[in-house]
């Protein structure tokens, strides 16, 4: 737990809150702006709100957001002599890797919570939509949080390998783009290979858009859960073995 606590301390004063709060709020606002400008209410109520914020968010901004968070978490280690301190410290590689990934995954989960709250607040206050969004959206939000875990591990690994802040984010963008194409081509199996496809698939759940057929089936839920857990374990193992083979830098 010590390593995780140390990592949270490191991000405490970074600008991570900007990604966690601003990104989802801007997402919902920009999705709502078009509807607001035309002076109408969303045609299909909560469904339209969800489609314009969460589904669009899952196409690529979510992957990039996680990429930014991961770069932020690893940024400190690539500065000054910190890398050598990390390499010569007594903390085992697996603890460093999991602690970093946990921080990124928790921040990604917080992003999802902010997004959900923003959808509810803007939907009911700005558009005056009745009641709350359908209950299944809450379940889907939990699945999205789970689907973010392997992406967090992967991006954390990329930011560990690459010293640049921007390069892993470009990889996230390219990966998200490829995933959108694969999902549109109805290659659902992509979720077991590409973590980016997993968040794309999870955000589209129950909407009938892109790769989704509409109703949420037990099969869909099971495949997302299995893929998330398997990918997270595999990617963590790979990242640990890479860090084990790294050395100090002069």
């Amino acid at each position: 737990m010590g390593a995780v606590r140390a990592e949270f301390l490191k991000v405490k004063r970074s600008l991570s809150w900007a990604v966690v709060v601003l990104l989802p709020v801007a997402m919902v606002l920009s999705g709502a702006a078009g509807t607001l400008a035309s002076g109408e209410r969303p045609e299909d109520g909560w469904h339209t709100m969800w489609l314009r914020s969460v589904v669009f968010h899952g196409l690529f901004p979510l992957a990039i957001g996680i990429g930014i968070l991961a770069s932020l978490v690893w940024r400190a280690e690539h500065r000054g002599g910190n890398w050598n301190a990390l390499m010569s410290g007594p903390t085992p590689s697996w603890r460093i890797v999991t602690a970093k990934a946990v921080v990124v995954a928790v921040l990604a989960a917080a992003t999802q919570v902010v997004l959900l709250v923003a959808v509810i607040v803007i939907g009911s206050l700005v558009f005056g939509l009745p009641g709350m969004p359908p209950g299944e959206y809450f379940l889907i939000s939990i699945l999205i949080v789970l689907a973010c875990v392997p992406v967090a591990v992967l991006q954390s690994g990329l930011s560990m390998i690459m010293r640049s802040f921007a390069a892993p984010i470009a990889v996230a963008f390219a990966g998200a783009g490829v995933s959108v194409v694969l999902l549109l081509a109805e290659l659902d199996a992509a979720v077991f290979v590409l973590p980016y496809a997993l968040i794309g698939r999870a955000t589209q759940l129950g909407t009938g858009t892109f790769a989704d057929t509409g109703p949420v089936t037990a099969g869909d839920v099971a495949s997302i859960v299995i893929a998330a857990v398997t990918l997270a374990v595999l990617l963590t193992t790979a990242t640990v073995s890479i860090l084990d083979r790294r050395d100090t830098r002069t």
């Binding site: 900007a18 601003l22 078009g34 930014i68 470009a170 783009g177």
Partner: protein, 247 residues
Amino acid sequence: MDRVVANEFAKMRHLRIAPVAIVMVAAVTGLVMFSAITSPDFADPAARSWELLLGGMSLAVPMVSPIMLAVLASRQVDIEHEGGGWLLSQTSGITPGGLCRVKLVAVGAVVTVATVLQSVLVIGAGLLLGVTAAVPAGLWLGHTASVLATNLVVLALHVLLSARIDNQLAGLGIGVLGSMVAVFASGLPPWLAHVSPWGYYALVAAAGYRDGDLVALTPSYASVAGLGVVGAALFLLVTGSFDRREI
């Protein structure tokens, strides 16, 4: 001056600027192709039109460009923070503002090639896919030039952001927000799209849906020209102020 620009190109090799630019071109071209092929209009060979591809461009460019431009600018500028490059350049006679201007020229050249290339590739794809109508060369040229002008202004903004704010999170975060503005700007009233540089991606659209039909549109050349002039003036002003700052 030439040697300083050449030096920036030398830096690009290790920064992998070319692969990032290639991702940008491939993403735009791929998205256009994909949106065209999956469109119901495309099923009928006789109905395949340039408007379909231009409409795809007007969707793909705002989605891809803001983020990739942020990445390109951040890569090229961040090394100066990492390696104490600002001080080194200044002691060898190139002011921080001057270095920013040189970086815009060098990365701008890459972005120019990428922007022209993505247009040419989409035209080539259209010809391969058997669009029978004549290529609307004037409109295509105007659209490409307008996108290029917008791209260069957004790139200039990101060069300044990456140079001024050491933490590259700021530039990239603004790039992501910019891509949202760009994508949703087509739904905004035109005056609101004029407010930020990303809104101009919607103003330069060469095709779009009007009352459910896909029609060719004329990019707002006057608006883009205005953006270019204002952008250039602000860039010179801000880089000029960098020159007078102590580092």
